[in-house]
Amino acid sequence: MKKVNWLISLLVLVSLLLTACGGGAQSHLDKIKQAGVIKVGTSADYPPFEYVDESGNKTGFDIELMEEIAKRMGVKVEWVDMPFDSLIAGVQEGKIDCSISAFNYTEERDKVVDFSEAYYTAEDAFLVAETFTGNITKPEDVAQYKVGVQSGTTQDDWLTNVLKIPEQNLSRYDRADQAALDLKSGRIDVMMADAIPAKALAQKIGGLKIVYTGVLSSGPMNIVLPEGDTELAKAINDILKQLKQEGFIDQLAQKYFAE
Amino acid sequence: MIDTPYILQAKNLTKIYGENVIFKDISLDVHKGETIVIIGPSGTGKSTLLRCLNLLTPVNSGQIFLEGEEITAHGVDHDQVRQKIGMVFQNFLLFNHLTALGNVMIGLTKVKKMPPEKAKQKALHELERVGLADRAHHYPAQLSGGQQQRVAIARALAMDPLVMLFDEPTSALDPELIGEVLGVMEQLAHEHMTMLVVTHEMGFAREVADRIIFMEKGSIVEQGSPEDLFERPQHARTREFLGKISELYGKKEKK
């Protein structure tokens, strides 16, 4: 979803040379609980997952989720806003206790930090007009049609770099609803978007249907935790499990992604 | 203080820059109140000799005594010594960021640690001595070359030096400004200030000097009273030099 900064590799190297002085007898989780505060890093420039509203308050799917997790741990969140590229280094060097910022698991990252269980998996959907007569049974099939996508999204990235769809077949839009309107009017044949907003759009605009859903452009999202911190990982994973069972996460997804 | 008739004494001074011998084996005795003029062609080490005498430049060998005490000895505080030896430079070297008064005062307040009010009184007095009390609040850039050089003299005098060194004090001046500086120096000579002057001003040398030293190629060729040197020079080189210089001086006069 986002890139790993080259600086992280540098940091890994140098920190191996310096080797951390090792924590005290108290575990990380105990320290967090004792302080009553968990320092959570996020890059608040990625709506709807984490962003600031116009009064400067942090909000978004990840933000609300983390606030709930902290509440159940009995602590408060102290948000530390950093550029995305600094977050892994921040966790790794103990400047923040963990980070939630729409992180996907990658092997590269797993070398230096740990990941919680996935808390959300963004599904993609292909949307067509109800009058569409073509045939889309597998993702690759869209390559032969005129496809619309919101510019700069993970779907845009997937269509351009993974599917390598010919440029003349790809239309990029500033907003998803613009693409949906063009889909209805027949200027494009297929539209690719996040599954939840795609469903909502189909309902709102009418005359559209979903022909395919699946995990294509981004993988499951995980909270980034310090390497080897099994105690904190367990505490967070347990709460995530509860939240999933209670339907809290689905509600949150509806709130943030369904428009 | 050691009992000695000499204020300043140099013994066998030699200065070498790399391969160049600037001067060699120079000895010099300066009596209290004496005005000595050093003459000679350019590049014969006269200016370097003055710089060596107040320790701005180290000598390679030889000794220098101030009031009988060796100042070239190990462990002597050079800053202390330089307070007692005033120096006036060819290109004035006033402190550009200070007024005439500030230039004269700063040595008193910062080096001698004199209270500012007292320093100001003394500085004004020194400026008066060189006839520039009315220019006290002018910056160097607002003064003529002659005025700047007179301030530089006042700056050196303010430190109450035992001896004053003048390194071609009028060479950088327009001809019409030379007189005012020489006038101040002449007045100092009359007040029996001990002075060592490197200059090409033969008129001044003849009128004011107690003794003239002719230097060439790093050595003292001849020395004596103005009459002896100008009227009865012993060495051919002295005669030749004086001939050339008076020709030049004469031309200047005509202009």
Binding site: D45 | R82, L93
Partner: protein, 215 residues
């Protein structure tokens, strides 16, 4: 809305100003010390100062920031993001300020030192009372330039989580999809700050200017 929008970005100004107010004087003190060592420190000390300047001008500020904050802070020293950021920028700036000041010190000229020594001043007294007051005057215009650069470079501290003007603009740009408005507001604030700094230093230069004309 625009009002609120602008006010959120404007709140970053105090961070920008605070970082600059730490980095610039720190850079000045270090830079002056280094410039003096370079000019008066003798062969090896002077080489060391030159090497420092070369290295620090070659290091990307962000790399120094990361090294200081993520690697050294917590191990050797304990620094908050604000201090780590300000000190990093101060260190980088010290190399540039050293270059400015050593140029200015050299421009004052050997003669002033000679004249000061001739009235019995020590080297340190001469540097303090004669050389530095003149060098500072010469250094004000290029220094004003460096001040603007540090002011703008202070935005780098966002990389370790200090929310200054630029970071806030980024956030609002992401939220509102109005990058022109967000970055425009940030640019305006920077412009005003740089303008004030330059104007202030111009006035200082004017005030401390030595008269040049013959009166």
């Amino acid at each position: 809305m625009v009002n609120q929008f602008f006010s959120y970005i404007f709140q970053g100004t105090s961070v920008t100003v605070a970082v600059t107010l730490v980095a610039l004087p720190l850079g000045l003190i270090l830079g002056l010390l280094l410039a003096l060592l370079y000019n008066y420190g003798g062969f090896w000390v002077s080489r060391l100062a030159a090497a420092y300047s070369l290295i620090m001008r070659g290091v990307p500020p962000i790399a120094l920031l990361f090294i200081l904050y993520f690697l050294l802070s917590g191990r050797l020293i304990n620094l908050t993001p604000f201090w780590a950021g300000s000190i990093s920028l101060g260190i980088i700036s010290s190399a540039y300020q050293m270059e400015i000041l050593r140029g200015a010190l050299q421009a004052v000229g050997e003669g002033q030192m000679t004249a000061a020594r001739a009235i019995g001043m020590s080297r340190l007294q001469a540097i303090r009372y004669i050389i530095i007051p003149q060098a500072i005057r010469l250094a004000i215009p290029p220094w004003s330039n460096e001040a603007s650069i540090v002011l703008k470079d202070s935005s780098l501290v966002y990389a370790i989580g200090v929310p200054e003007i630029l970071r806030r603009a980024q956030q609002l740009s992401a939220t509102t999809q109005q990058p022109f408005l967000a970055f425009g507001a940030a640019a305006l604030i920077y412009f005003v700050l740089v303008f004030l700094v330059n104007r202030g230093l111009d006035l200082l230069a004017e005030k401390t200017k030595l008269p040049t004309s013959m009166a």
